[in-house]
Structures are given as structure tokens and as C-alpha cells.
Symmetry: C2
């Protein structure tokens, strides 16, 4: 038995072919047989439900706590509000469609795909209207995994630790595989005129959300998508059609996409002037702050997922960057005195969440857990203090500062800030 | 306007900033304004449902036809039966959890994670019993995307075209991202003795499904998984714990995994003797036919998803191989007289589904659509005729023959076989 094995003490030693004890200390030989092993369990005495009992399946009855949650005091109405992804309950890099965070400005529009249209017009040679069926027949269909983060994710934390749990501090992000068309294919088909430099993109719900997007970005990697994780977009994600603006703030990923106008300058709409700009300490506002900078968060341990016990534990978290690929994630257990690289596992794709792990042994001491992401540009995720020095505390958007979780001796875990 | 554009004729030309006609011919200028564009739509006049109306989200009301389906006459009871993935409605490579095909032998066991145990015993130094919490604390957690195909997928087609639609002919396959532990980590922890060469793996439902697995495979890439596509396994996929045996037949991916015994030879259980063996024409049976050979299917056009119209169309399909990575997929529209390589798009991972596309222009002639997969070993997916020459027609399992869809002049699409 190696020292690694001795240190682990996971699982309990059982009798040969017979029993082990739920009472026994970890790694110790059992004195009493474990009825969970030796007895025929209740679920093995009966036939369960048959196939297609649920033609569209649902999670287990034991997972009812794994849901999106909103914060009632955060917004005036639920039609213009947000619900958060339960990051602390998830693993890997795919967010299940039923748990992707929501952000609406006029509730969830329910649009029949037969009635939906996408118009492309303005400074183009051939203004066009597309039905959903026509988009599905258009050449160049493609699949990409991208994160989508609301610019206001972690926005409540600018003035100090507020919300107790990564679902609330960081849950305005999700990551799915999209299917659709490169926007470039549609724009080339319509023929953008040489003086066309900007796009106005508009949603079909009652809020008629509009944003300006530079043509360069549209031609580089934007997409119009009708599927996520293999199936049709969910209504709350813009069914039947949404825009993808990879790496850029979620507000620009127009849902229920109905209109793209080409112009020669930005439109300066509400959502890029009074909203989604960053008011600095001196009264000036940063505008067109589109890119989501490198960020990370430890999802476990975290306030909603404290350590299960002393001894071996697995720290886990997510990192992402709107500037490309995550190169490294460091973690610390002592508030930044000692950092070590986390183990990144699973697909490492540009503009996608990546999953990281770090095993540690917990003897019951207080922990100050942090993570910091480094992306391919060399950008290092800053502390919240560093961010505030540059941006002040008027901001709502683009808080990508390092998050700290305090694990107390009794295991209780809290959102804290350290200077 | 390039020749590619002229050939396309997709979308309809609209007025500048005003209107386009749903009536106008494709690519022609509109005469009447399109009310779908010019008028404020019903869904833009009202506020939709607010956030967290559905804490766990559901598909759109317009997607109710996208469900798993069973075939009533196929099995004697629904507790020992199968429901099929609606492949013709999906895109990309991720299968949503709610649509992953089901195969049960005693219905869906509903097992509480607090009560579940995994025992590892037999020829090991340290027999152990693990709780779910202990597995989550074990070092080495990892994420992998794998296809899972039932050995009986396409089994009804051995004796000729039977089932009309790829959901039924090929829908016993799905592809998700799993989270769990390499089985090697657990086996190393328990210390397999030098005479340990085989595993018996056992499920916890009323069928107590058991299979023998060679130790080499277990050590190479098998996993015990508790999450799929980011969230907990679904009950019908073995919640809270299942075995993954990447590239090998689905029957071995034991659900509700409760016991792993190490022995020095295979156990010759029912599921590897009377079932999941292939009876040849001369009366001998092929046994331990674990690996799922390279296979592919066109999911659109297909009987449940015929061509929408003449003119531009997108052919789409899936390919996979239990021997590694898909290297190429060829498609034909004329029953194999002319083949051309399809365009593979999205992640190309070993032992995972890959998505392929081929654009084509349909003038209304009869089509005989086929696809054939080639994997990294150079293996070429055979015709059904070639398979039968070697295996006869007694088989149920391991039919990876080339599938043919006939598209008639009126667009109706059927499952056919050509010699």
C-alpha cells in the first residue's frame, strides 16, 4: 500500500464477497455487515417504470434541488430579470439546456418557427428575408461550443461580498454546443456594400433588444444558431433563432433574432449607452466594452457546496476567456500566499468554459480558496482590488475579479473578500 | 453575384428596410409586403413568462414531437424494452439527456444516492465499499465524450429493410460528456492481484445485469460516471452510478453499478452466452463480440425528415467507431455509383459521434442516399450484403451495414435495401 493510498483513506474495507460497514472508519476493516451491500435493496425487488414513460426525460427525483434560482430583491419584475445557473451542482463543461441561466427584458417570447423571419437589409446589394426552413437549407452549417456570460455576472460584488454562493455570484454563464450558420455566410449572400461597417441586430420579443456590432466581428466568428446541445434552442434562449457573438457580452447575443441592418456607423442604442457601459470614478463612461476578460471561479467547495468531510477533497471550478483559450488556472487555499496550478481536464476549446480540478487534504483548518485564470494572451485574472483601482466602484458590468471563499473549521463556507 | 449565389436561390429579396414577400419566388423581388416583417407580431405585444417560471427548463411547445419513441410489437413488456433517440431531429454531436435512448431489463430503478454503494472485491488486496460521497472525494475525476450504442442497434434490419426512420433503425445510440473516475484509479486503490484478469460488473436494479470485462480494457479507458452533460445521470441511464466501456457494446455499460468482482476468467453469464452473441449460419456462435465497428447513418434526409423542397438541401448524418477516431465519411445520392467525401464539422474525438454534412441541389429526381464511415484503422463500413455473406442472417447484434434511404420524386422518403 503506497503512501498515496494510506493518505487517501477513501472507501471502507469490506469482507470478501460479503460485507462492509457503514459504521467503520474509512479504510478500516468492518465489524458489522453493511446492509446496503448484504441485503436485497427495495429497488431490486420491483420492476421500475418502463421505457418511454417519460418520452422527454427528466432528472431524478433526488435531484430536485438542482434548479435555476432568481433573487427576488434584485429586479423590479420577473419579466425583466435573471435566473442563475446552479454552477455548484454541475461538472464537466456542458451546461444542460434546462439549467442555462436566463436574462429577459420582456419575458420569454413564444414564437412559432413557421412564423419567424430573419431580415437582412441596409447597406447590402440584396436585402433578404429568410424563413427558418431556408436557413436550414443554407450551406455551411456548423457546430461550436461557446460560453455565454452576461456582462453583469458578478456585478453585485463590485462593492464587496454580497451573494452567498457561486450560483448567484457567477451563475450568469453557460456553455453549450450550438448548431447554425456562420453569419458571414448570410452577409456574403446578401452582399455587404463597401461602406457597410456596422450591424444593428434586433430581437423579436416585446423588448425589441438592439445592439450595434462591428462588421469585422460579425465576419470573424458570429453565428445565427437554432440548436443548442443537439436540440432546438429553448424558448428562454431565443427559440427559434439567436445570434452568437463568441467571447463578447451576453447582451449582444440577441435572442429571437429577427433583423440585421447594415450601416456605416454604430447606432448608440439604449443598451450600449445608458446600459452596458461602465461609469468610471471621474464620471466618464467606458463604452463598447464588449469582450469578457479571463475569469474563473471555484464551484466546489463553495457556500452552496461546502466540503463533505475532512481528509481528501476535490476542488473543482470553471475558467473562461473572451480573448481565446485558457492556458492555465492557479488555485490557492490560503488566500494567495501559495498558488499551485490546477489540473485542467476535458476539452480545452477557445471561447469555451474549461473545467479544472485540484485535489487537497483538509485537516479542518480555515481555508481561503481562490482561483485565477491565465489566457493565451498572457492576461492574468486580476484581484477585485486591482479592478477597483482602475474602474472605481460605480460599475455594474465586467467584474472578472478573483473570488474568495472562506471555509470555516466547521465546514461552513462563505463569500468573503480579502484585501 | 457569384455562380454559387445564383445556384442557391435561398431566402427572398426584400424591400430596403420595409418588406419582402412570403409569396415571391426564391431570390425574386417581392411584390407584396410580408406581414411577418412589416407588422408587429403577437408575441411582441405582450410580456412573456418571467424568469424561473420553469426552474428546470423544458423544450418549446413547438417541439413536442421531438421525443423518444418505442415500438410496441418489438418486446413483450415495456419494463424490458427500448425507446429510441430521435436522431432525425437532432444536430451537432451532443445528445440532450432527455432524449438519450433507453434500454431496460427490469424498468427504471430509482435509487437514492445516499443508499447506493459500489463494492470492489474478489482478487484484490483491499476489498472496498464506496459511497457516492466517497467517489466524489476520490482523486483523478475526469470528463470524456463517448458514444454509447446498443449491440442490437439496427438489429431488425438484418433480414431486410424493416423500420421506417433512422430513429428506429439507428436510434439506439447517444453521445454525451461524462464526469466520473477512471476505473483504473479505483482498481489500483484496491490492488488487483497478479492472477486477477477479468471483472464481473453488476447492476443494482431488479435484473442484476452482469457482464465479464477483461482487465486490460478496464485499466485502459473504462470509467465509473455519475454525471452526463454536466448534471447527474438520469434515472434511465443508471443514476446514481454507471460503468462506461468506451467503444464497446452498450449492454456492458452497467447501469446502477453496485459491484465489481475481480476474477481469473470470464463468468459466462446469460448476457454473454444466450444473449449478446451472434449465431452464424453454420450454427456456431461468435462470443465476446464487444467492439462496435465503424458505422454511419444519414439523419436528414430520412423517412422522418424528408427533403423540405427542391433546390438547395443539406444532407446531414452521424458516424462513429468503437476502434477510435473517424477519419472520413463518404456519401452517395445514387446508391453507390458516385461517392464523395462529406464535410465533417465540430469536434472529432475518438469513440465519439462525429457530425457530417453534404450540401446538394435536388431537382426532384429519385435519390438513393447512403453514407459510409472510415475509421483511423482503415476499416470501411461494409454493405449489408457483405455483412450477411460473413455472418448469415441469424444475427441480431452488430449490424453496422450501410443504410439506404430512397427519396421519391414527391419527396417521400423510405427505408430500402439495394443489392
Amino acid at each position: 500500500m503506497g503512501s498515496e493510498d494510506r493518505k487517501l483513506r477513501l472507501g471502507r474495507r469490506g469482507f470478501l464477497g460479503a460485507a462492509a460497514s457503514v459504521l467503520a472508519a474509512a479504510g478500516a476493516r468492518a465489524d458489522a455487515p453493511d446492509p446496503a451491500i448484504t441485503e436485497v435493496q427495495e429497488w431490486a425487488r420491483v420492476l421500475g417504470d418502463g421505457v418511454a414513460t417519460r418520452p422527454y426525460g427528466k432528472p431524478s427525483q433526488f435531484e430536485k434541488h438542482v434548479v435555476r434560482r432568481d433573487v427576488e430583491w434584485l429586479t423590479a419584475s420577473r419579466e425583466s430579470s435573471v435566473s442563475f445557473t446552479p454552477l455548484h451542482e454541475l461538472d464537466g463543461i456542458i451546461t444542460p439546456n434546462g439549467l442555462c441561466f436566463e436574462r429577459h427584458h420582456a419575458g420569454i417570447a413564444e414564437i412559432g418557427p413557421q412564423k419567424h423571419r430573419l431580415m437582412v437589409h441596409g447597406l447590402v446589394e440584396r436585402p433578404m428575408v429568410f424563413t427558418m426552413a431556408e436557413l436550414r437549407r443554407f450551406p455551411g452549417r456548423t457546430n461550436r461550443i461557446y460560453f455565454l456570460e452576461c456582462a453583469a455576472n458578478s456585478g453585485m460584488e463590485w462593492r464587496g461580498a454580497q451573494l452567498n454562493g457561486c450560483q448567484f455570484t457567477h451563475g450568469m454563464v453557460h456553455n453549450v454546443m450550438y448548431t447554425g450558420l456562420p453569419l458571414k455566410a448570410l452577409l456574403d449572400h446578401c452582399g455587404v456594400r463597401t461602406n457597410g461597417k456596422w450591424l444593428l441586430v434586433e430581437g423579436g420579443d416585446a423588448s425589441l433588444m438592439t445592439r450595434s456590432i462591428p462588421l469585422d466581428k460579425a465576419m470573424k466568428d458570429c453565428m445565427v444558431a437554432w440548436a443548442m446541445n443537439g436540440e432546438a434552442l429553448r424558448p428562454e434562449q431565443g427559440y427559434p433563432l439567436r445570434l452568437l457573438v463568441p467571447g463578447w457580452e451576453g447582451n449582444m447575443w440577441i435572442k429571437w433574432l429577427r433583423r440585421i441592418e447594415i450601416g456605416d456607423q454604430p447606432w448608440h442604442q439604449r443598451e450600449e449607452t445608458s446600459k452596458y457601459t461602465d461609469l468610471l470614478a471621474d464620471g466618464r463612461a467606458r463604452r463598447f466594452t464588449w469582450i469578457m476578460d479571463a475569469k474563473s471561479v471555484v464551484t466546489s467547495p463553495s457556500p452552496q457546496a461546502p466540503p463533505a468531510a475532512k481528509g481528501p477533497n476535490v476542488l473543482s471550478g470553471l475558467a473562461w476567456s473572451g480573448r481565446g483559450t485558457i492556458k492555465r488556472v492557479d488555485v490557492t487555499l490560503d488566500g494567495g500566499r501559495n498558488w499551485r496550478p490546477a489540473r485542467i481536464d476535458g476539452p480545452v476549446l477557445p471561447l469555451s468554459l474549461v473545467r479544472f480540478y485540484a485535489e487537497f487534504d483538509w485537516s479542518g483548518q480555515e481555508l481561503l480558496i481562490q482561483s485565477r485564470a491565465i489566457d493565451e494572451t498572457g492576461y492574468v485574472q486580476p484581484t477585485k482590488g486591482e479592478l477597483r483601482q482602475v474602474r472605481g466602484v460605480n460599475s455594474i458590468y465586467h467584474n472578472n475579479g478573483i473570488q474568495t471563499w472562506l471555509v470555516r473549521a466547521d465546514g461552513q463556507t462563505e463569500n468573503v473578500e480579502i484585501s
